[in-house]
Structure formats: structure tokens, C-alpha cells
Symmetry: C2
Subunit: 203 residues, 2 copies
């Protein structure tokens, strides 16, 4: 049986993802080197290209892990909140917390770019979209007039607004809020958006 081979191959791939994940968490995406990964995973340099198409694909696999971890964490949190508005606040806070506590891994989600001409695989794109879905339900409660594409679009916009505040705070210390103020600023932003969104004019 070639089951043994498959197992070894899968095990190596996982060790490579583990090593890449740990290295990104420690040194950031910029400090990630193929030679460091293979050294930590205990294999030769070339083995990386046997287990995985290239370094970009390996980063995508790490990002997939991070995305799922973020999704699970926020799913747990959103369930505990009773009202739609409280769900929104909870989502904002859990996102902020996750980003701060996993700064380098979270950062890799949005700073990693494929070389020109290459496309993000569909399954990974779907994981991103799944993240937004948690906002759709409470938003739909607050704005029953929105549905379908408009609802999806507005949920993306709410996410992006909070994301922007978190990102500039963590990555761009020139214009971002100091990290000690981040949580309260996100709360203020979500609060303002929730108050403002209820009395939105029909277009």
C-alpha cells in the first residue's frame, strides 16, 4: 500500500506549515525565508517545492489556518450576545483583540500579495467571504430593508471600516491610534455606525 508514503508526505507538509506559521508569528511575513522553514521542519531546501507549489502557496495555507482560527473565535463570541447591536460590538472587539494578539499572522492575511498574473484560489477566497457572513445576520436585523447584494455590500463596508482602524493602529503608527486606545476607538466607531445606520435614508 502506498498509504505510508501519503502519510509521510502529509506529515511533511504539515511540519512545513507549522514552521512557516511559527516563523511568520515571530518575524513577520517579510522575515520569512525558505531556508529557515526547511531547517525548522527538518528537511532539505528542495523538499519544500515537492510538498508545495511554492512559497506563496505555503503562505496561503498558513493564512487559511489563521482565517479559520479567527472565524471560530468570533463565532463563539457572537453567539453569546443577545441583541444585534451587541453582536456588532462583540464582533468588533473580538476582531480587535485577535489582531493585536496575533499581529504578525493577522497582518499576513492582508499584506500577502501574489505575483502579477496569479490568482488567489477560490477555496481561499471563500474563507474570506465567510468572515463577512457573521456580520450579515445582525445587520439584516438592524436594517430589514437591505437584502441580497446590498446587504452583503454594506456588511463588507462595516467590516472594512473596523478593519481600517485596527490595521492603521497596528501597522502604521504614523496615522493609527495608539494601541492602548484601539479598543475604545473601535467601540466608538461601531457605536456611531450603529446609531447612524438605523436612520439611514432610503436611496
Amino acid at each position: 500500500m502506498s498509504n505510508n508514503r501519503d502519510k509521510k508526505r502529509a506529515a511533511l507538509k504539515e511540519r512545513l506549515i507549522d514552521a512557516a506559521e511559527a516563523l511568520i508569528a515571530k518575524n513577520g511575513l517579510r522575515g520569512l525565508k525558505a531556508r529557515d522553514i526547511t531547517a525548522d521542519a527538518g528537511c532539505a531546501l528542495g523538499a519544500l517545492y515537492n510538498a508545495v507549489e511554492n512559497l506563496d502557496q505555503l503562505i496561503i495555507l498558513v493564512n487559511s489556518r489563521t482565517l479559520n482560527r479567527l472565524g471560530e473565535t468570533s463565532l463563539e463570541t457572537v453567539q453569546d450576545a443577545p441583541t444585534a447591536e451587541q453582536k456588532m460590538h462583540a464582533l468588533g472587539q473580538v476582531y480587535t483583540r485577535f489582531a493585536v494578539e496575533n499581529a504578525n499572522l493577522w497582518s499576513a492575511l492582508f499584506t500577502h500579495r501574489l505575483p502579477e498574473g496569479e490568482e488567489t484560489p477560490d477555496w481561499h477566497r471563500a474563507e474570506f467571504i465567510g468572515l463577512i457572513q457573521q456580520i450579515v445576520a445582525p445587520l439584516s436585523e438592524l436594517r430589514p430593508d437591505l437584502a441580497g447584494r446590498s446587504l452583503q455590500l454594506r456588511a463588507q463596508t462595516l467590516f472594512a471600516a473596523v478593519h481600517g482602524v485596527v490595521q492603521l493602529s497596528i501597522q502604521n503608527y504614523e496615522v493609527g491610534a495608539p494601541q492602548e486606545d484601539l479598543a475604545s476607538e473601535v467601540q466608538a466607531l461601531v457605536g456611531a455606525m450603529m446609531r447612524g445606520i438605523k436612520e439611514a435614508p432610503a436611496r
Copy 2:
């Protein structure tokens, strides 16, 4: 007089910035190569390191140009708007428009990272902070209770929120709004934030 030498040196530096700017605009920050820059500027590879400390510094000089161009553009626009709320909408729209029309150069402002241990020069940091100042005045009108650090902080947060929507739309097509919806989503966001911010609870 050594004026001639100074002039030639300044001229070369400017040609290098011109070339780098054009290359970033065409290929993005990722596609920027020292050899392409010097070829376009008409000098040897090593000359770049005589005119400028290194490639990162040259990128900062390009970013400074972009930032000033953005500042001037939005300053013109904000002056035409009569009310504070309309100023905010105008700022959001001009920012969106600038980012879309100068996608690669605008993107470089926020994706360029210095290697670990190096710091952004103070004069460049000040340029970023100047961008936020245009928001402070109208915000202060809408929220006279805010002042000093709280006012500055909230202005940064409003900027970051709009920035997030624009950035995800332009760079991260997985979660960002399609570009055809960007302007109206920014308008909706600014509108909601302005409505919500007026009735903010005293903390």
C-alpha cells in the same frame, strides 16, 4: 564654484525620484527594481546609492510626493464645502477618487515597510499627520465637546474607517466592495458615522 556639482547632483536625484515614481505607478511597489530605476534615469546602478541612502529612502521620497499631492487635492476640495458635514463627505469622496486614480502610488504609502530596526524619518511622519488635520476642523464643529488628544484620536479613527473601505476595495478583492460600488459605500459610511457621531454619549 561648486554650484554646478550641486546642481547635477540634485538633478540626478530628481531624475531618480521621477523614474521610481513612474515605475511604481506602472508596476506597483513590488515590481520596483533598482536596475530599472537607474536605467530609466540614465545612470549606472551604483549612482543610486550615491544620490540616496538606499532604495527604501527613495521610496519614501516618492511617497512624500504622493502625500503632498493628496494633501493639496483634498485641501482644495474641502474649502468648497459649506458645512462641516459636507466637508466630511467631500473629504471621503476626494480620498476615494485619489486612491482609485493613483492606485499603485497610493498603495505604496501604506504597504511600504522599512526593515526591522529602521524608523520612518520625522519629517515624513509629519506629512502623514498633516493629512489627518483636515478632518480635525470639521469634526470639532460637529463635536464641540471633543478637544486636544480625544479630538485628534477620533479624527484618526474616522480617517482609518474610510481608508479601510477604500483599501480593501482596491487591494483585497476577496473582501472589498467592487470598485463600482466604492464611492456610494464610502458615502453611506460617512453618512452613518456623521449621524451617529452627533448623538455620541458622554464618556
